[in-house]
Symmetry: C2
DNA sequence: AGTTGAATAATCAGAACTGAGTATATCGCC
DNA sequence: GGCGATATACTCAGTTCTGATTATTCAACT
């Protein structure tokens, strides 16, 4: 993931040189739906990109405002961007899902409770899917591919949890099943 | 993710007290298809679980073999396990996908090259799907839910990349499209 | 009797990451 | 014109994580 965030920073700086704050604002406001990058991490990565020579920072003293740095991509950084982009597009890294761990031990809970918890997750996924769907219409078409990517994975997640709920329901106590279906 | 790995360790130690090495062997051999936990990280987490009082370690000196530690879950650890398990089952954490970053900048590559790279990824995903499918039959039924989870997400990933390849193909140069379809 | 290589069981230095904090300027409002 | 709220721009101490390395036993081979 580290490399992909470096790719993101290089890609943005490639389009336009920026202050750290500007960069962070942009990511937080325009890209929060698909990247999770803390401001402190962004500064850390910018520093690393500088140390590696991919980005140059220039301290800017303007009147008596607090000093700030302009970050711009270097020619080496440009090459690095190309390299990381190609790598990102061609490589597939198998994912790890936190949900798997829970399912491995799920049978140690009473079926009723397990069902209740899984239904809670189902609701949370559905809610998130709805916000993604909303973005789908409000965001510019440049983001369409990314949103569709998320929607596909969300649908996979819903299919899975529905199957689990279905098999567990058949083993749960009649009351619990009734309560849920009412 | 940290909490989920603690859940895993507690869950395994709950079933049976173990040496660090034993625990690591088990995870590496039986669970590598769904969890990625480095041995050093496991030792680190074990240490943290001890500091937090969820696990007790006892140094074992047997003859003059290299000393090793037995880890066993404490009553507090038992409670913690219950808590983490419930949390894991009920919570949904929106995922972040490295692929999204690449797609955002993808248009900066020549369509032909972009297509070539995406087809490479498609192959890699398919290969991984095949190994998962193989596990599906070879692994005990306790792992079925986890495998199916992965297969669903892999199918989502394939659907997505196929759509991308399809839209990009219509814009690529005729030669490139021909070469691929031959 | 000595050497090599696998298995066992960690430790450690350093890299990556985060939450909380620092410091100044500017803006609105009473 | 003074005062809190908000915007700007980081810095830093502490936590988490990883690759490389250390150290011992045991079995096999020479």
């Amino acid at each position: 993931m580290t490399m992909d965030r470096q790719l993101l920073l290089l890609g943005l700086l490639r389009a336009q040189e920026m202050h750290g704050y500007q960069l962070n604002e942009f990511i937080d406001e325009q890209m929060n739906f698909c990247v999770d990058l803390k401001r402190s991490t962004a500064y850390y990565l910018l520093d690393k990109l500088c140390r590696d020579g991919y980005v140059a920072e220039e301290v800017e003293r303007e009147g008596n405002r607090p000093e700030r740095k302009v970050y711009r991509i270097t020619p080496t950084g440009e090459e690095r961007f190309q390299e990381l982009l190609r790598q990102n597009l061609a490589a597939y890294e198998p994912s790890v899902y936190a949900e798997d761990i829970g399912i491995i031990f799920e049978h140690q809970l009473a079926p009723d409770e397990s069902l209740r918890l899984m239904r809670m997750r189902r609701e949370a996924i559905l809610a998130h899917r709805a916000t993604m769907e909303a973005l789908h219409v409000s965001l510019p078409p440049s983001h369409t591919a990314v949103i569709e990517h998320h929607l596909l994975h969300l649908d996979a997640e819903i299919t899975w949890i529905d199957r689990l709920i279905a098999t567990r329901s058949s083993h749960a106590s009649p009351q619990a099943t009734d309560t849920a279906s009412s």
